[in-house]
Symmetry: C3
Subunit: 479 residues, 3 copies
């Protein structure tokens, strides 16, 4: 598989009547040049090797040419009858409006992102980066999922940096166009599988416009498709309509503080029929104030992030910016997200998190959605390759839906506790992957939550009741 094409001419040492006679006999007028020549040859060969290796190295590291990145998880999630159980962080009624609970182990799917990168450096020094992300999601355990899978392209964009002709406040700027996840706007609470904000779609933008030391801004235009929604039959003969939501964003950093502001407009989305009326939002505004802490809330080593998010109209989907076209023109949402990680001792580490939202007039005038999740993941590192992980989630919710999508009002709590013996190549911190885990979970919830929606995890399955045990195995990897 590995057949060498031959390198430059190789002078074999044996061919060189090196030094003995020369050194002894020469008075050195002749010897010196010979010696020098041969030495020069070493010098030249070293320099050639160094140059050739310098060409190869960026290809090996992915700084130039192809490189591969991944996020993937795949697991078996079973109930006590040894059958697939519902799961995932969005299984509760609050999950339908973003209220995630802890996910350790309890995910029923194989989800993966295969990221193919290609980087180039122009002669003038300008760098370019093409990124393609192919993703798939399925809950089938089978090895042939042509009918169940969902392979699709989530990202395809180019980004330029170190632009030779950019100066001043643009000297460090990058520009991009295509379909992508925003570079900065998809930071998450990993344990809830919930981004704090997520901005994705098709557009163009500029990163790292530097106004002063520590003061930088990103500006972008993203489009998203609102496809085939029911529309006012008086305006449209076919009763189905599509439009685009265009989102203008300024994301600004002042040291550790991030202030994001977005405005959006989806022309004719006000003709969308939701709950029998045409009161859907046509415009929206969304803003976030966040702090990226480099300690555990100032108490110990670690990190923390805290964010308050507020949105109105189409901006009232606080996480997935501009992705929900059903939002009411008067919709108002406010979300709080906080998490941190730290070590409690040499071997114990902990990551608490809070995610909460209150939302009014969300889909139907007068509705109200309130939920709050506490989550904590705890781990004890036991050997070079093994640790015990624990996770506790508690969620309370009070959802007044006014019948949106056939959903009923519910008011109650959900809680889950998970133990997961975990293998990894090297323990140490919350971000080391891959992990191979086995797990067992105990969940309880108010029976009332089962009345929310006929088809959801808690409502559907006669075998899935409060005081539920689930267990299984899962791998998770990123690089």
């Amino acid at each position: 598989m590995f057949h060498a094409t031959k390198g430059p001419v190789r002078v074999r040492f044996a061919d060189q009547p090196l030094s003995v006679a020369t050194a002894v006999l020469s008075l050195a007028l002749a010897a010196t040049p010979v010696h020098a020549q041969e030495q020069q040859s070493v010098e030249e060969r070293l320099e050639a090797l160094e140059n050739r290796l310098a060409d190869v190295e960026p290809r090996a590291t992915g700084d130039e040419g192809f490189s591969f990145n991944t996020y993937a998880r795949s697991g078996l999630l079973l109930n006590g009858d040894l059958q697939s159980a519902p799961g995932g962080p969005y299984l509760t009624p609050a999950g339908s409006v973003g209220g995630a609970v802890g996910r350790l182990g309890n995910e029923p799917d194989t989800y993966l992102e295969a990221i193919l990168n290609y980087r180039q450096v122009a002669e003038n020094g300008t760098k370019s980066h093409y990124r393609l992300m192919i993703a798939d999601s399925t809950t089938s355990s089978n090895d042939w999922t042509a009918g169940d899978g969902a392979l699709n392209v989530r990202q395809a964009y180019v980004q330029f940096s170190d632009l030779a002709s950019f100066t001043g406040i643009f000297a460090d700027a990058s520009i991009w166009a295509g379909k992508r996840f925003d570079r900065d706007l998809d930071f998450d609470i990993h344990w809830l599988d919930s981004d704090i904000v997520f901005l994705g779609g098709l557009g163009a933008g500029i990163y790292d416009v530097r106004f002063a030391d520590g003061v930088t801004s990103n500006f972008s235009l993203y489009g998203r498709s609102f496809s085939e929604f029911p529309a006012d039959p008086e305006s449209f003969s076919d009763e189905e309509h599509s439009t685009d939501n265009l989102i203008l964003t300024a994301n600004n950093y002042f040291g550790n503080v991030e202030w994001l502001i977005s405005g959006m407009k989806a022309q004719e989305n006000d003709l969308r029929v939701v709950g029998g009326v045409t009161e859907a939002a046509e415009t929206g505004v969304h803003t976030m104030l966040a702090y990226h802490g480099d300690s555990f809330f100032g108490l110990s080593d670690g990190n923390f992030k805290a964010a308050v998010i507020h949105g109105q109209g189409l901006g009232a989907e606080t996480k997935n910016i501009g992705a929900d076209g059903d939002l009411h023109e008067d919709a108002v949402s406010t979300r709080l997200a906080v998490y941190g990680t730290t070590y409690l001792s040499e071997t114990w580490r902990v990551a608490p998190a809070i995610l909460a939202e209150t939302s009014k007039d969300r889909y139907i005038k007068g509705d109200e959605y309130q939920w709050l999740t506490f989550n904590a993941r705890l781990a004890q590192e036991l050997t070079a390759n093994f640790e015990m992980q624990y996770e506790a989630s508690w969620q309370t919710m009070d959802l007044t839906t006014l019948g949106y999508q056939g959903r009923n009002d519910v008011d109650g709590y959900y809680s889950r506790f998970t133990v997961a013996p975990t293998f990894k190549p090297q323990v140490g911190g919350f971000w080391n992957r891959p992990e191979i885990r086995v797990f067992a979970s105990y969940s309880t919830w108010d029976d009332e939550l089962e009345g929310y929606a006929a088809g959801d995890a808690l409502g559907a399955d006669r075998d899935f009741e409060s005081s539920q045990w689930t267990f299984g195995t899962q791998m998770e990897v990123w690089f």
Copy 2:
């Protein structure tokens, strides 16, 4: 593509007053062997390094092992209401029979080809190349397109070259089998997104049979699937039928002149029902005479290509050889394709193109399709990373369809002018990519064209009328 980052500091030999004193003064019989041994060690280590590096280099460049290639574009195309507009080079009625117009910016889709190569060199020197192309196309702006996308495999073939046992006229020949785009038969007029000819499918062939200096030929057999077409109900109980179109091709080069001749047969395609009758072609012939110029029409530096294509029966689809099974047994088409590129000054470059076709008895006896497109792309290089691009298209068409596929006769013109400020890693020529562009276009057309077909770009959309402005942003990349 392969720009070296510099290695560690290199001390140049010339800076070192090497050994003069040593060589002159030492008697040193003992010293010499030690010196020799140590020199040998350096020699051996150098040689080992050179050998190891020679093994690594072809892996880094993709000459052996894996490499990655891509074509991709992704853009947001909007009308004045900030909603997605129809677009692409085939949006006019003539587009339905191959009449493309200029595409600069005005494309509504994310289209990409991810090409995975694997090259091997056998011990006897024979090279093999496996190529897999996965492609996707969607007009959705969303980042999850499992329901809208079209991921599929367009190529999967192997090709052998430098065959150890091939001699004589086959000494330089390559052979291949599998599913592929023909190596030579997909050269295009880039600005129209139209191949001059395109041959793709599943088969086998041989390239570069060399009869004399400058006289080479390629021979191939391609199969294509004609799937589930309506067939004569008297012959088939299920009224649907499938068959294969087999295409034998000889593609011959005499210096800059290329002469391509193809014959094809699709058994029982004459039982296909088109326009209520069974007169579809069962056989066809297709030929092209082309010139690949290495100047701008002899006038200045640059390049040009000119081709005349003629086809009959199943060969009357002049571009996509053998891909259209609806063609009438008497169908006759002739197409002209010309383009060139040159620099007008240090910073201005231009690429004019003509594409035209006349076609008779194409789908229904007596129909007639005539269209002609003038296109010119112009660019002014302004900085290392920025240029202004301009494109003008003018198309005239006269289509007499006799009701084929419910289409109406139209006779008229279409024109479009586009301005596109464009960023790229390094300006210089029409083929440098990636590009990030923003653009604005103005289009006009005869209202009559809107009556061609209910579902097409000009006919369908009440918001898309002549004197149309469109604008947006787009990336385009290949490597």
Copy 3:
């Protein structure tokens, strides 16, 4: 991410009694330090190069970072009318229950597996391997198969080996989790495209637990999805049901002997309706005794494999362990698989194979399936790049279906003989790929076989009758 495995032995400069005599004898106080410095510089540069190259090499070979593997085939299979013919090794009635015949050339599909690997080595030496396999299958010859293709993810798993903290019988063990083909349980009779056993699905396991020299075991838990099967209407309101088949496996090696034992359970699969009754198996057991020979049956150089497989209930699908949910609770199957490869002379090689099964009460109480296939592939190596390949298959079958899936009883034989002139980069053995072949086949069969099932290869096509000629071209590659 970039952990260097150490390169070849590095002789440190300090270990070298460099220039002792030189240093002693020379008066040259100035010359000596210069010399030392300069020699040290070469030494340092060599060492730096060796270190840097040792970092790059595992990236080039795929021992670390990304690597790419593939299996692919793509071919055109035609009948005498130049139309696509049915084909593949499973085209006979026995094929519906696993009875493959030889496949040389005669495959109608483009099937490919693109395998993306990423390997990492942790600082503590633990290795991890992420593998993603994307596969596709289509019988369309076209280059755009978005409507015909079947792109899907067949594998996505991580595996850890060389675990720093594993000792004793686990010292050489590997652990894994995710969706995969079992590492050991997919060895096949290549010429029949039939695994001897195949185990795939979603789960976790451990390989290479070493109890003694030559005595190792693998243990695994695999889940598979039984999806949307018709279920007892008295138990389920929607008459469709899904469940999971969980398979516990111990695969044990005693030198060349392999003993595999698997138990499985699919909760509520006994409520599945097959042939009008609910007698499907809920549990199963499957076992295999195999011998992996390192000669051609002790007669000459080469290899052979022989296996006897027995299964009951859900284990009665002897090849695809646990993949068939329709099996009857009393189902019993026994399969024999034998093949070997050897050279008959310098240039002739042969590979005979036998695959046979008897199965009772398989789907419906009282049914009976018996079939036996003889196959032999023969090749004559003629030049560095060319060989003639021949294959003969003979199959006899006696299938008593009791109407399962509308199938009728048949009793008869099928035989096929194929000649395939074959090009390859380097001839030599049965496993060298890629190959480019053209082929012609002659097949005969008992007319009775055409009555088995209306939709199958022998039954469906009026143009596909006994005494059939087929021919075409095909590539096959793996690496």
